[in-house]
């Protein structure tokens, strides 16, 4: 049983099934609330009828000119609800909103290069690597910094396909170039 709906501030008290997962970052409350204030249409949850947060996506609209796009800041699915296609549902809705409400050229996201499963999943959804950001994930606890792939998918407005490129894996940029 899964329904999509806008994420709300009250969900911050109910998102433990997703946020107890070790790879899901717990941001400062103001971070979530500022996203809700600025891009409420791009912050979505999949919930069960009893209100359990099974998954959520947090995104924003940014960029100028042909760089105007929807960006996925966080996407997480609770461990108990994985392999059900919920990530696909949330991505599809974020893409729809980015296209219909924000009229963006593309949707992009950053993913750890080592996270092969995620890279494969996004490729399956039509995303391709646009560039590799060297040392994007600064490390903590003594681990080494890690590169990120900036993956993109064109939306209807990008009629010339300018948002994507072939062999983006070999196009290296530094983190400063993407901020």
């Amino acid at each position: 049983m899964a329904s999509i709906r806008p994420f709300t501030a009250l969900d911050l008290h109910a998102f433990n099934p997703t946020n107890l997962d070790v790879l899901t970052e717990n941001y400062d409350t103001t971070f979530y609330l500022s996203y809700l204030s600025k891009w409420p249409k791009l912050f979505l949850a999949v919930v069960s009828p009893t209100g359990t947060i099974m998954a959520y996506i947090m995104g924003k609209a940014e960029g100028e000119g042909i760089e105007w796009h929807g960006h996925v800041t966080a996407l997480t699915v609770a461990p108990a609800y994985r392999r059900l296609g919920l990530a696909k549902v949330l991505m599809a809705e974020l893409e729809r909103v980015s296209e219909e409400v924000y009229n963006g050229y593309f949707v992009d996201l950053f993913v750890r290069v080592s996270n092969e499963l995620a890279v494969k999943m996004y490729k399956g959804m039509g995303y391709s690597v646009y560039r590799r950001v060297v040392g994007y994930y600064s490390a903590g606890g003594g681990a080494e910094a890690e590169d990120a792939y900036d993956m993109r998918k064109s939306l209807k407005r990008d009629t010339k396909g300018q948002s994507v490129r072939e062999n983006g894996e070999t196009f290296l940029v530094s983190p400063e170039d993407v901020y």
Partner: protein, 1016 residues
């Protein structure tokens, strides 16, 4: 450096914020400046702000620093002319917030505004910036009443600014949203006002492409506010439908485009309530089959959408399926031959029959359909209506390999009779047995799915057969269950390969089931902790492979706590990486009663940390993971910060016109700012400070809200599952509002006692407002007045009415405090005789002796625990734990010792009071010094003997004998051969011994820590 004035102010702030400093030092600095003749509004406001943070317990309302702070604030804020400096006004606002008087901020700014307008010689009748300041200051303080007043004035004075108009509507709306339930009827008027204003704005939306009147709705966000207001003010559904179908305000309108699907669902939902099932059926069927609502009428402005809105997400959304099933069922109920019902039944049932892939929601719709139709004879006889049992089985056959299957299916299995549940379980078993996990022909995927199916089946078996409140399982049944879990676990190791360190393994669920089974055993035995120790070894084994399984970690935290291995519990808790807002909903798992379990940090515990594991995922390793004070401070920091940041975010939402989010942001702010956990943690933090010999008198009015205001419970308790097994995991009754009130009152009584001993107090026990005066405030008269002791008795008597929040020893301690409060009151009695005081004193000592007896009895029980072998016959005799069971639990023994030491301190404070207080000295005949010395000696020797007892426990606890290890490895007396075999085969003696050593060291350090209690 700034000016001398700024430097002097800086000194005050530094004193206020310095570790070991605080309001007292800051106030001394301010007083010194005043004494030297320095004057000024800023200094006065600063003094008020500092006073607002002073401890208030123990002072009369007249002499309370909080009352003085309020008087200073009011004197400054409402004088004419009012203060002008921004910094002074900011200090006043902060002081009012600290005093819990947010409403005064609105009044302050209203006064500032009106005075400014009335300034002689001023020509302008209005002051826009002044009104804006009034409005935004109230918003930042969450003074919704003040904000609404300012917003209404802004929209009235500046009719051409459409932003002011919509903010005024939002302000009226928020007043209703944020008010307490008991004020709801008074605030309804503002809801009506908001509804009228926004309805007018909706009625003026342009029918053409041109912009409408200045105050008409023009944006999607404003339209969203319109529906928020209508929904909240419970507008008639017929009217709601009219709006939602309207070409100007409806889901297909130009303005509704951005929120097309949300508004469409609002329409369907309203039609469901109106029982317009044919419409609902048509809408839902269209979306489920095409992803589109279908007919797109032209809009009011003559434009037509480019193409119908299509959403693949909504095409398979549970809400839509649920709406379709409900409408079909209702139509069938009216007429079983209704073609719409027949069509729906066919479509839904086909999903069960098809061999191809079917969505999870579609299958669940079939379950829902069967659940609704089965009780009705006219419907359940039809071929196209499946039985619920058959639908459940089919769902399992198709979804059993998903980890969500159990949670999905269980609400429907609950609807089956007991016999049907057993029949289903048999069928699940038959289904699983059709494939052999040992078959060499199975692919990895097939094997994975088969293992997952068995995990799901075993979860059902646990629920139906093992965790059964009505029919206790037999030992054979339990052993058989665990044997199957462990056998499947062994197979699961073949599929749990090539996993990342952050992944959870399929087999985790199986070891969790065995651990839960062991907790059922523990819950049914008197005081044998062997099942817990075995469960800990199993969970440690689980976590050695699946390092970040948070369910296992949380359960392990609880099991370590129960067994008295608190440093292990706190260390494992850190591995969960709980931070920020999670503290509000989760940190109670470790912080509840931690002040009476481990008030001191255990430096050796750092060695227990899993540094590598933490570094794997970049987790922060705390400097001292077992320092309870640090843990309480971290959690409390959330509330301090939220006071400032949440209103800022609401302000940001207003700035961005995110009207759809404001309601929930306001409710969220209210939940956090009134969180019951904040009160609990503050009480426990003060207790930790007292045990450490520090001053812990509280920090002004902010945390004492549980006494006078309504609170919000944001804690999450459902992470262990909802079944009965976890009764074995409970650590005392769940603390709540009464617990907080009880201990806040106890603190007030004791602080009053200390104040009177020092000759500083007046007669406080009679003049605090009762909790019923929820709106009463600092130093405010009104409401029913009664002594603190009477109020405390009122709280503890709630227990007798079934509202259990206190452990037995907590109640005993509060009873002693009540008697101490009575002594205070009696000392001031007009008769001025000591006879009643002496009687009460005897009662205090009688209660004290009873407490001491309890501590000694529990120490004997601990000694016996090692050799305790409850017979198998006594197993499974019942699953509930009452207070008598806790009496023998290891955690309770530690808790009882700390509560006993707390009461020792209280009685020593009573001795000081008897010795020094002028009111006691005036009693005739006097209470003699030898009498007081006798009490002191009794307390001294008792506390020493209890600390010695703790030292002995610490020595004993650290020893792990070969016999102990044998007992765990053989599950001695539990007759769980399968578990014993697993422990010996998979875990091994060496690792089991290591885990047990870890437990022993932690238990030993827990007991050793008792020796750190200071009696200064």
């Amino acid at each position: 450096m700034g000016s001398p004035f700024e430097r002097r102010n800086q000194q005050v702030w530094e004193a206020l914020n310095a570790p070991g400093g605080g309001p007292k030092q800051a106030l001394q600095l301010v007083n010194r400046r005043l004494k030297k003749g320095e004057k000024g509004d800023h200094l006065t406001a600063m003094r008020a702000f500092i006073l607002a943070q002073m401890p208030s317990a123990g002072a009369t309302s007249a002499s309370s620093p909080l009352a003085e702070a309020l008087a200073l604030c009011n004197g400054l804020a409402f004088r004419t002319p009012p203060p002008k400096e921004t910094e002074t006004i900011r200090l006043l606002e902060m002081a009012y917030i600290q005093l819990g008087k947010k409403a005064e901020i609105g009044r302050l700014h209203e006064h500032l505004y009106k005075t400014r307008i009335a300034t002689p010689g001023r020509t302008k009748p209005v002051d826009e910036s002044g009104l804006q300041e009034w409005y935004s200051s109230c918003m930042k303080a969450c003074d919704w009443v003040g904000m609404q007043k300012a917003a209404m004035m802004l929209q009235k004075q500046f009719p051409n600014n459409r932003g002011y108009y919509f903010r005024a509507i939002a302000a009226c709306f928020i007043m209703v949203v944020a008010c307490d339930d008991d004020q709801r009827s008074n605030m309804a008027l503002f809801g009506t006002l908001a509804s009228r204003m926004i309805s007018k704005a909706a009625s003026e939306i342009s029918q053409t492409k041109e912009l409408g009147p200045i105050r008409s709705i023009r944006t999607a966000a404003e339209l969203q506010l319109f529906y928020e207001v209508l929904s909240f003010t419970k507008t008639e559904d017929t009217e709601l439908v009219r709006y939602l179908e309207s070409p100007t305000t409806g889901f297909q309108s130009r303005l509704g485009s951005d929120n097309y699907w949300e508004l469409w669902w609002l329409l369907v939902d309203a039609k469901l309530r109106l029982r317009e099932f044919k419409d609902v059926d048509e809408h839902c069927r269209s979306v489920l089959s095409t992803g589109s609502v279908g007919a797109n009428d032209s809009r009011a402005d003559g434009t037509v959408p480019d193409q119908p809105k299509v959403s693949l997400v909504w095409k398979d959304d549970w809400k839509v399926w649920s709406g379709y099933v409900t409408s079909a069922f209702e139509l069938g109920l009216r007429d079983p031959e209704d073609p719409l019902f027949t069509k729906a039944a066919t479509l839904i049932t086909e999903n069960l029959k098809t061999d191809g892939p079917v969505s999870r929601n579609a299958l669940l719709a079939a379950l829902q359909f069967a659940t609704l139709c089965n009780p009705h004879a006219a419907l359940n006889c039809r071929e196209d209506v499946p039985t619920l049992l058959a639908a459940c089985l089919t769902f399992f056959q198709k979804q059993g390999g998903k980890s969500s299957c159990y949670d999905d299916l269980r609400p429907y299995v609950v609807q089956l009779s007991i016999d049907q549940r057993k029949e289903l379980l048999d069928k699940l078993t038959d289904h699983c047995s059709t494939s052999s996990l040992e078959s060499p022909d199975m692919s990895l995927k097939e094997l994975t799915d088969a293992v997952r199916e068995r995990v799901t089946r075993l979860k059902f078996r646990f629920w139906i057969e093992i965790d059964n409140q009505e029919r206790a399982p037999t030992i054979e049944g339990l052993d058989d269950f665990m044997q199957e879990c462990l056998a499947v676990y062994t197979i699961s190791l073949k599929v749990d390969v090539d996993l990342l360190v952050t992944d959870m393994r399929i087999g985790d669920e199986l070891l969790l089931l065995v651990a839960k089974g062991l907790m059922c055993v523990y819950a049914s035995r008197t005081h044998d902790t062997l099942p817990i120790r075995i469960a800990i070894v199993l969970l440690e084994h689980l976590l050695s492979k699946s390092k970040h399984n948070f369910t296992a970690l949380l359960l392990l935290v609880r099991l370590y706590s129960i067994i008295g291995a608190l440093s292990c519990a706190t260390v494992e808790y850190q591995r969960l990486g709980i931070k920020q807002i999670q503290n509000d909903s989760l940190s109670h798992h470790i912080l509840t009663r931690l002040a009476t379990l481990l008030p001191f940090s255990i430096s050796a515990a750092a060695k227990l940390l899993h540094h590598t594991d933490m570094a794997d995922v970049g987790l922060h390793v705390p400097a001292n993971p077992t320092d309870s004070l640090e843990m309480y401070d971290i959690s409390l920091r959330l509330y301090k910060n939220a006071n400032r940041t949440n209103p800022e975010m609401i302000s940001l939402a207003f700035k961005n016109d995110a009207y759809g989010q404001i309601k929930d942001m306001v409710l969220f702010e209210k939940r956090v700012s009134t969180s019951i956990s904040a009160c609990h943690f503050e009480i426990e933090r003060r207790r930790v400070l007292r045990f450490r010999g520090g001053v812990a008198e509280g920090s002004g009015a902010l945390w004492d809200r549980a006494l006078t205001a309504s609170t919000s419970d944001n804690r999450s308790f459902d992470l262990f599952g909802e079944d009965g097994w976890h009764t074995g995991c409970n650590m005392g009754p769940r603390v709540g509002v009464q617990w907080a009130r009880g201990f806040l009152l106890a603190e007030s009584i004791m602080a009053t006692l200390v104040a009177q001993s020092q000759g500083a107090g007046g007669s406080p026990p009679r003049d605090m407002p009762s909790p019923s005066g929820a709106n009463g405030g600092v130093g405010e008269a009104g409401g029913k007045h009664m002594s603190l002791a009477s109020r405390l008795r009122e709280v503890t008597h709630q227990e007798e009415e079934g509202e259990y929040e206190f452990t037995g020893v907590e109640k005993q301690v509060l009873e002693v405090v009540c008697l101490i409060g009575d002594i205070q009151v009696e000392s001031e009695n007009a008769t001025r005789t000591s006879s009643k005081v002496k009687t009460l004193l005897a009662d205090v000592m009688g209660n004290f002796q009873a407490l001491r007896g309890g501590v000694q009895a529990s120490s004997k029980a601990i000694a016996e625990d090692a050799s305790a072998t409850s017979g198998v016959d006594s197993m499974m005799s019942g699953l509930s734990l009452d207070d008598h069971r806790w009496d023998l639990a290891p955690w309770y023994c530690v808790h009882r010792v700390y509560m006993f030491l707390e009461v020792c301190k209280y009685i020593l404070q009573l001795c000081d009071f008897l010795d020094k207080s002028p009111v006691v000295k005036a009693l005739k005949p006097p209470i003699t010094k030898p009498q007081i010395t006798e009490i002191r000696n009794a307390i001294g020797s008792s506390s020493k003997s209890v600390i010695q007892l703790a030292k002995d426990e610490a020595k004993d606890a650290v020893l792990v004998t070969e016999a102990d290890i044998d007992a765990v490895l053989s599950c001695k007396g539990l007759e769980l051969a399968s578990v014993a075999e697993f422990l010996n085969g998979s875990v091994g003696r060496e690792r089991a011994e290591n885990y047990m050593d870890k437990i022993a060291r932690s238990r030993s350090s827990t007991w050793a820590a008792v020796g750190g209690v200071k009696f200064s």
